[in-house]
């Protein structure tokens, strides 16, 4: 098992190097981080030349890539080319906010999705099953940005028409600084959490239903029933426990995907999260900041894929890695 993990990690290093070089080339070619300075008539050519030398912008991409790699290790993900500030403090706050939203959304989606999946499978082809199949199909087909906008519009209109504030529709706090866990914060992050939860819920309830149906027809379930075990015990101990195995994998993968995919949701609700950070820096051509985000996302996707595989081997003893 340990050799398997070590091999996977070693194998991912060249992939990371290659993908970081490709995206570094794209991001560097996408725009000039000094465009704002150049547009400012009060900035002298000497200043611009100073920054070009400072950021090695006159060098080839390969040399610039090398400087960036060095800055990642020596300066904790480097220094923003736009503001001259270190990147790590900003992006770690953003990660904190994103994690808060994703964890809540995942928790809700997992609990509801698993419960609905179990019940749909036990009562297959019932009204309950059909209505939740339809709902999850809709949730699957709905683009995230549309769902987010619908929620935003609905709650903006509720506030404007009836002057009731149920949930806030943008930002993280009412004031400039707020604590991480307060009623005010919950009212702010409720809508993005609902948006992300709906999408994940659709996924989980489908998977749970399918894997329940797989297990229900297996021999050991029939044996359990034949032994005369009460139905409740058959379902909870024999069916659900085994049906949960694929969910562990799917949720690890989905967690990694959400970390990157919350861009639109954070953009719409103007939440200072990772996606928001990435998108703003991308539009301002802040090469190092964009790269820092891409690297964090790539590493976390690799890690979550690995966790998914390990969890699978751990939960299902029939699977062996070597």
């Amino acid at each position: 098992m340990l050799t398997y993990i070590a091999r996977r990690i070693l194998y991912s290093i060249p992939v990371l190097v290659a993908s970081s070089f490709i995206s570094f080339t794209f991001v560097s070619l996408a725009g000039n981080p000094l465009a704002n300075l150049r547009a400012n008539p009060r900035v002298t050519p000497e200043t611009i030349n100073h920054f070009i030398r400072l950021y090695h912008l006159n060098q080839s991409i390969l040399v610039r890539y090398w400087y960036w790699v060095k800055s990642i290790f020596t300066q904790k993900l480097g220094v923003s080319l736009l503001t001259g500030q270190p990147i790590w403090p900003d992006i770690s706050t953003a990660i904190g906010h994103t994690l808060q939203i994703i964890l809540l959304a995942q928790l809700i989606a997992l609990l509801l999705g698993v419960a609905v999946g179990i019940y749909s499978a036990i009562r297959q082809y019932s009204v309950f099953d059909y209505s939740f199949t339809t709902i999850s199909f809709l949730g699957y087909a709905m683009p995230t940005f549309w769902l987010a906008l619908l929620l935003q519009i609905a709650f903006t209109d509720i506030y404007l028409d009836w002057h009731v504030r149920i949930f806030y529709t943008s930002g993280l706090n009412s004031g400039t600084i707020g604590s991480n866990w307060s009623m005010d914060r919950l009212q702010h992050i409720a809508l993005p959490v609902i948006t992300l939860a709906v999408v994940s819920f659709a996924l989980y309830s489908r998977y749970m239903r399918a894997s329940m149906l797989d297990v229900i027809n297996s021999d050991y379930v029939r044996t359990a029933r034949a032994k005369g075990l009460p139905e409740r015990r058959v379902v909870m101990r024999h069916i659900v426990r085994n049906a949960l195995i694929p969910i562990a994998t799917v949720s690890a993968l989905q967690f990694g995907a959400l970390l990157a995919g919350a861009i639109v949701t954070e953009q719409i609700f103007t939440l200072d999260g990772m996606g928001y950070y990435f998108f703003n820096r991308l539009t301002q051509n802040d090469t190092y900041a964009v790269m820092a985000y891409l690297m964090i996302v790539a590493v976390s996707i690799i890690v979550f894929n690995l966790i998914a595989d390990i969890a699978y081997g751990f939960l299902d003893p029939r699977i062996r890695y070597d």
Binding site: L16, V27, A30, L160, I263, V264, Q267, A298
Partner: protein
């Protein structure tokens, strides 16, 4: 339900061989119908209720988009100054209302469908052809080309598609035409298709009929396209269909963030984005998004139907 009887070739019966089903049937006066795999596939597809609903929906929506010049009541940039930000109404035939500078929204949505539909269909077509070619080469010849392709797909898997797309789109944003977006999307969408085709080819190349074709002296290209390709069509057609919906949603996502197709050409994504600024005028956001959802649902229905229909293991005809 009676299973239709099958008969491989009429020549066998005529040659006076052992009594076949055809002989027995001829004696009993039953009609023999020769039915190909395609007949079964088509029959199963046409009997698939959801697939038919999806197909009809797609024909209506895509038809309206394709015939936008004739169907839309106005052009997409014509301004009606008497009705600015008017809700859905029959006055002046603004059935979907008007936007903040008085352009008829139904017409804009219909032209938006045209853009999205072009992107979806062309991206699905391009990436299928590319994935098919590369995947079959990799699966048939293996060796270095196989290695290169698997490494590229590994790369694409490490970085989330949307994030990479945004970065690439930012690089080419200045040129933000329809074709740039189409090529960017196709550049990402071919990898899963290539992986699927490669997998099927890897297993098919060991089959007896491929060996037989080789023994007869058929060339590599003939074996690949004449013998092996028809057997991979099922998963490819299904994936190509689902890629249409994927491409449309991804284009909408890019356009929504302002990295997609540039105004004045409307696309469904940019129309939804335009509604963000006017939260009290719900129709600006709700209606184009609803069309988007309908397209995705219909494509998924058709994809499900095709999956059931093209599965050669399945002989069951849906009642």
């Amino acid at each position: 339900m009676t299973e239709p009887m099958q008969m491989k070739t009429p020549a066998v019966a005529a040659a006076g061989g052992p009594a076949t089903a055809a002989d027995v049937a001829a004696i009993e006066g039953l009609e023999i119908v020769v039915r190909s795999q395609w007949w079964y596939a088509r029959h199963r597809f046409l009997r698939h209720r959801l697939a038919m609903i999806g197909l009809i929906g797609l024909v209506i929506i895509f038809g309206a988009g394709a015939l936008a010049n004739w169907v839309a009541p106005y052009s997409f940039e014509q301004i009606d100054l008497n009705n600015i930000l008017h809700g859905p109404t029959t006055i002046g035939h603004h059935y979907f209302g008007t936007d903040e500078i008085g352009r008829d929204y139904l017409s804009r949505v219909i032209y938006g469908i045209r853009t999205s539909e072009e992107v979806g269909l062309v991206v699905a077509g391009l990436s299928t052809v590319l994935g098919l070619t590369v995947g079959s080469l990799a699966g048939y010849y293996r060796g270095w080309i196989d290695n290169v392709i698997m490494r590229i797909t590994d790369l694409v898997l490490t970085l989330p598609v949307l994030v990479t797309l945004l970065t690439v789109a930012a690089l080419l944003a200045g040129k933000g035409s329809k074709w740039t977006i189409i090529f960017i999307l196709a550049g990402f969408f071919w990898t899963p298709i290539a992986r699927i085709v490669r997998g099927v080819f890897l297993s098919l190349r060991e089959k007896e009929y491929v060996e037989a074709a080789k023994a007869v002296g058929a060339g590599d290209l003939r074996i690949m396209f004449r013998h092996m390709l028809p057997n991979t069509l099922g998963p490819i057609v299904v994936n190509g269909t689902l890629a249409v919906a994927d491409a449309i949603i991804t284009e909408a996502f890019l356009s929504f963030l302002g990295f997609g197709i540039k105004p004045p050409t409307p696309s469904l994504g940019s129309l939804v984005a335009g509604g963000e600024a006017n939260p009290q005028d719900w129709w600006l956001t709700v209606l184009p998004g609803l069309v988007l959802v309908l397209i995705v649902i219909c494509v998924n229905f058709v994809g499900d139907g095709l999956r059931d229909a093209l599965d050669p293991q399945q002989r069951r005809v849906r009642a």
